[in-house]
Symmetry: C3
Subunit: 259 residues, 3 copies
Amino acid sequence: MKFNGRNTNISANAIIGSNVKIGDNSTIYANVEIGDNSIIANDCVIGEPLNDYYFDETYENPKTIIENNSIIRSHCILYAGSTFGEYFSTGHRVTIREKSIFGKHCRVGTLSDIQGHCTFGDYNWLHSNVHVGQGSSLGHFVFIYPYVILTNDPTPPSNLCIGPIIDNFAQIAVSSVLLPGVKVGKHALVGAGSIVSHDVDPYSLVVGNPAKKIKDVREIKNKKDGGTQYPWPERFDRGMPWSEMGFEKWAKEQNDYDL
Amino acid sequence: MKFNGRNTNISANAIIGSNVKIGDNSTIYANVEIGDNSIIANDCVIGEPLNDYYFDETYENPKTIIENNSIIRSHCILYAGSTFGEYFSTGHRVTIREKSIFGKHCRVGTLSDIQGHCTFGDYNWLHSNVHVGQGSSLGHFVFIYPYVILTNDPTPPSNLCIGPIIDNFAQIAVSSVLLPGVKVGKHALVGAGSIVSHDVDPYSLVVGNPAKKIKDVREIKNKKDGGTQYPWPERFDRGMPWSEMGFEKWAKEQNDYDL
Amino acid sequence: MKFNGRNTNISANAIIGSNVKIGDNSTIYANVEIGDNSIIANDCVIGEPLNDYYFDETYENPKTIIENNSIIRSHCILYAGSTFGEYFSTGHRVTIREKSIFGKHCRVGTLSDIQGHCTFGDYNWLHSNVHVGQGSSLGHFVFIYPYVILTNDPTPPSNLCIGPIIDNFAQIAVSSVLLPGVKVGKHALVGAGSIVSHDVDPYSLVVGNPAKKIKDVREIKNKKDGGTQYPWPERFDRGMPWSEMGFEKWAKEQNDYDL
C-alpha cells in the first residue's frame, strides 16, 4: 500500500541494495547507500543535506550508510554523514543529525531527536521523544525511555560540548535529564524524572533532583511475584542475542561485549 | 486552499461519508471509514498499516473508524484498527497507534503520541505533546496537559504492560509522569512536574517527586477573585455538554456519566 | 537538491522576494510575504489557515510576513497572521500558531510548538522541542533549552491566559516549566528540571520544585578553568551583534536594548 513510486525522488548517486522498498513521497539524496532488504517507508528524507548546502555552491553530500535489514518508518529525516548498523529501525518523525554512528540492532522511537556527532553501540533502544545532545556516547544494550534529555553544555551558552557517557546495560527512565558529561555506570537505572548531575555508579538506582542513589538495582523486587528483576538481561530477552540460549550461556560464549 | 486533490491517495476500499474533505498529499488506506462532515487536512495518513504489513504478504488492514464531524489537522498518522468517536479533533503531527478507542468529543493536541491499545472516554482533552503508553485507560472529561507521560512497565525492560487508570474529571498538569498502573481519582489534580508513584485519591491535589497530597482541590482559590475554582465543571463549560444549561442542572438530568 | 519545483504549491496571492528558494512539496498560502534571499525548505506549510478556515466560507487568510534572509528548514508549519523578523531560522517540524511576533535573528529549534499570540524580541534562541503557551512574552537575547514549557492557565481548565514574561539575557534550562504569569528577571538562569512558581530575580540561579534561588549567576564558575561564566554575554558572542567588537564596547555604543 505504501510503495507505489508516487512522488518518490531518488538521487542517481544513491546506491540502493537488492530487495529494498522505498515509500511514496520519500526522497533519497546523493551518496546514500541503503543495504539489502531494507525498507524506507513513505514521506522520509534520507541523506538530508547539511547546513552548508544552503550557503555553499560547491557543497557535496557526505556518505550516509544504512546497513542491511533496516526499517525506517514514515516521516523520518536522517541527515547525510551518519552510519546505521544492520537491523536499524525507527518509529515515525525521527530526526537524526550528521556524523552519528549506530551499531547494529538499534531502535529509535517516534519523534526522537538525535543532534549528531553521537556514538551508539549495538542494541540501543531509544523510545519515543528522546533528545540526545551532540557528542553523547552510549554503550551496548542501553535503554532510554520517553522524554529523556542528554545535555552537553555545562555553562550555557558556550562553545563547549561535553556529552554524557552511558555504559552497557544501563537504563534511563522517562523524563530524566543527564547533565553534561555525567557518566552512567553499567546496569545502572536512573528513575523517572531524575536530574542527574553526578556520575552514577554501576548497578545503582538513582532518583530525584539532584539524583541520589537509593539502592542497588539487584535489590529491586518485581511487583508480580516479589522476585528480583535486575540485572535485567537475566529476565528479559526479547530481541536480544541471548534470546534462544539464555543470558548466562550466551555470556560465557560471547566475546563481543564487555559484560 | 487545502483541498485541491493534489497528490491525494485514497484506497478503493475506504468508505468516505458525505461532505467529507480530504487534503492535498493525504493518504487514506484500505478499510478506513470516515463519517459525514469530517475533515482530513493535508499531509495526513489515515489507516497506517500495522507492523505486520512490512513482513507478511497476506496482511490485511484492520478496520479504522472516524465518526461524523471529526477534524484531523495536518500531518497526522492514525494507525489502522482504532476507533474515533464523533467530533474527534486533533492538532498537527499527532501519532495514534492501533487498537485504541476514543469516545466522542475528544481532542488530541499537536505532537501527541498515543501508543495504542488505550481506552478514552468522552470529552478527553489532551494538549500538545502528550505521551500515552499502551494499555492506559481514561474516563470522561479528563484533561491532560503538555509533555505528560503515562508509563506502563514497572520493571523495565519487561513484557508487562500495566497502564495508568484516570477517573472522570481528573487533570494531569504539564510535565508530569504517571508511573505504571497508578489510579488517579475523580476530580483529582496532579500538579506540574509531578512524578506519581502511588494512587491519587479523588479531589486531591498532589505535587512533587514522589507526588504527595497537599490539599483538597476544593480548597484551591483562583487568583483573580479568591473564589473557589474546583470542581472545575462548576466554573468551566466551553465545549462541554452542560454549556447551555449549567453543570448543576445538566448533572441532575443526565444519565450517561458517573459523576 | 531540494529545489526542483516538485509538488510545490504557491498561492497567486503570495508575494515572493528576490532570490527566494522554495523546496519540493512545500505550500505557500495566500497573503504570505517572503523577504529577499530567504529559503523555505521542502515539505513546509507557510501561512497555514486559521481554524475559521474550516468552517467559514468567507474566510480570508491574514497576512504572514517572513523578512529577509530567513531560513525555514523542512516540515515546518507556520500559521497565517504571524510576523518573523529578518534572519529568522528554524529547525525541522516547527509549529508556530497565529499572531506571534518575532524580532530579528531569532531561532526556533526542531519540534518546537509556539501556541500563538506570543511576543519575541531579537536574538531569541529556542532549542529543540520548546513549548510556548499563548500570551508568552520574551525580551531580547533569551535562551530557551529543550523541553521547556511556558504555561498560561493558573487554574485549569479556565478561559484565563496569563503567559510568563522573560526579560533580556535570561536563560531557561532543559525540562523546566514556567508556571502562568511568572516573571524571569534579566540575566537569570533557571536550572534544569525546575518548576518555577514565583518570579525569579535578575541574575538569580534558581533550581528545584518549586524553584528556589541558590546563588547569584555571577558566582558560578566554569569547570574548565574555574573562571566566572556569567553574565554570559561577556563570554559568548557566536551569532551575537557584539561578536566583532566584544560585549563591553558594543554595550557602550548601542541604544537598541535595555541592558
